[in-house]
Amino acid sequence: MKSKTWVPYAFLALPLTMYAIWVIFPIFQTFVLSFTNWDGVSPKFDLIGFENYKRLFSDPYFKLSLNNNVKWLLAFVFGNIPLGLGIALLLDQKFKGDRIYKTLVFLPMTLSFVVIGQIWSWMLEPRYGAINSFFRAIGLSTFAKPWLSDPKIVTYALIAAASWRQIAYAMVLFLAGLKNVPRELVEAAYVDGANKWERFWYVILPMLRPATIIAVTVNVIDSLRAFDIVYVLTRGGPFYSSSVLANYMYIQSFHNYNMGYGASIAVIQFLITFGFILVYLLTALRREESTV
């Protein structure tokens, strides 16, 4: 097909143009903006070199947000992925009604974070909220906490709300991975006398490697771009205690009109995510090569 080289470009013209305008150029513009003091309103702005970045490193709220993102990341990777895997293993067994169970666990995955946030506000509300009133009803009132207004626990409460959806996502990825584990292999191990744990550790888990890599990457990226739940439930408060980078970037840019400064936060977020994106791309493309 090398004769008419313009043909593929004719097909690509419209999609590439749109992608360039709304995705590719903006990425470069944000880089440039991060070296300016633009306020988002006035037509003029100055190049100020690395000032924004220097400011970031002495900004306590930036550190707080970054720190919270690390909490999100650790909880997503070391909490949600094992839990998702556990639920997937449990529901992957053949039993009557297994599909209904899977469907129900998966349901939060279809919801907007705004709806999830709203639903969880009824759970976390301090006086009448389901969690606290439930604890009080069973005589464990010491566990009833002001979930969204105590700076020490608010981030964990938000992570719990997000995990409701994220665990379901991990479960789906692992369920798909489990489909690719040949039953004969597991049975052969059983015949050879491997117990349940050994079959899982030495046979099933290695076969789940691709699913695990994807699940980790997806969760890392999602934990770094968490925004909606935080914005809807607390706006990052009280006093920035539940702020994350995405949220802080939005507030700096669109509430405080520090667009140059906001851009530099976005760039930091980009740089952190970049490593993980590379891992994902390499995995995806390698899988790609093997199927072509």
């Binding site: 097909m1 090398k2 008419k4 043909v7 593929p8 097909f11 419209l14 999609p15 590439l16 749109m18 992608y19 305008i21 709304w22 150029f25 903006p26 513009q29 944000t30 903006l33 449990l90 529901l91 469907t103 129900l104 349901l107 939060p108 279809t110 919801l111 907007s112 974070f113 705004v114 709806v115 709203q118 639903i119 009824w122 759970m123 009448y128 389901a130 009803a137 409701w164 379901a168 996502y169 789906v172 798909a176 994807i214 990226i221 771009r225 925004f227 809807v232 995405a246 939005y250 669109f254 851009a263 976005a266 977020q269 980009f270 994106i277 994902y280 791309l281 790609e288 199927t291 072509v292």
Partner: protein, 277 residues
């Protein structure tokens, strides 16, 4: 045998416990939505079942709280965005799947890379661009953005699917003298219908559920989609929890229904192109 039976019972118990925990937040919202206000405030907790069911809350959310308008706006935004993204990405996918040319891999890489970028990288320039071109706070502005933003994932997804179609079909058509656009329209597109449906369902849910971009690109109340409308309600109806709960359930009903009907497509799409959330 006895051991097997025991383990089956254990599986059921554990699975049921998990599902009960998972459904608990839904049930609480449903209870909240059907209770009258005085019952909400006099009761000991939101998790308790309602004494009587008040469906008017849904009606009030729909009309008084403007959910009707928000719902319509979401439809106006979502339908063209999904169709546009599918159509335009299919053009790119066709080029990348069938033709060998120098920039093929690079362009694919750009599409895939772009879809993984944290969207904060786009926020300010896209907002500024919309204001400058005069499409800020218009349906068109947000639709064009959604289409473009989804191109990366859709192109990647469709291209991979097209790659599974035997190449001989394409080559035979070329030898028969079919034009390139005819091959795209008459041969390849009918073959990718299953992929288009899976992708369409996913995209529909994502765009339906979008919040951030509406927050940045839409301002007037008359154009707000349900997600943005819902957060507006939180401010206006602060003390009327039932109305907000009813509104949240209204916002959730469409994606849940779509998922239940097209479950298989949805999960296939999600696991094939597992990167997005």
């Amino acid at each position: 045998m006895r051991h097997r039976k025991f383990s089956l019972i254990f599986t059921y118990m554990l699975a049921t416990l998990i599902v009960i925990i998972w459904m608990f937040p839904f049930v609480v919202s449903l209870f909240t939505a059907v209770k009258p206000l005085d019952e909400l405030m006099s009761q000991k907790g939101l998790w308790l079942p309602p004494k009587s069911v008040h469906l008017e809350n849904f009606k009030r959310a729909w009309t008084e709280a403007n959910m009707k308008r928000y719902f319509l706006n979401t439809l106006i935004i979502t339908a063209p965005s999904v169709l546009g993204a599918l159509f335009i990405s299919s053009l790119a996918a066709f080029a990348l799947a069938w033709y060998e040319f120098k920039l093929n891999k690079l362009i694919l890489f750009i599409f895939v890379g772009g879809m993984l970028i944290p969207f904060q990288m786009l926020l300010i320039p896209v907002y500024r661009f919309s204001v400058n071109v005069g499409i800020y706070d218009t349906y068109l502005g947000i639709i064009l953005f959604h289409i473009s933003f989804q191109l990366g994932f859709c192109t990647f997804f469709l291209r991979n699917f097209m790659k599974t179609i035997p190449r001989s079909i394409f080559e035979a058509a070329l030898i028969d003298g079919a034009g390139h656009f005819t091959i795209y329209r008459k041969i390849v597109m009918p073959l990718v219908v299953p992929a288009l449906s899976a992708l369409g369902i996913l995209e529909f849910t994502w765009i339906w559920n979008d919040y951030l971009w509406s927050l940045v690109l839409i301002q007037s109340d008359m154009k707000k989609p349900v997600t943005l409308g819902l957060t507006t309600l939180q401010g206006q109806w602060v003390s009327d929890w039932s109305i907000i709960a009813a509104a949240a359930l209204i916002a959730a009903v469409v994606p849940i229904t779509v998922f239940l009907i097209f479950q298989r497509y949805f999960i296939e799409g999600l696991t094939v192109g597992a990167v997005k959330g």
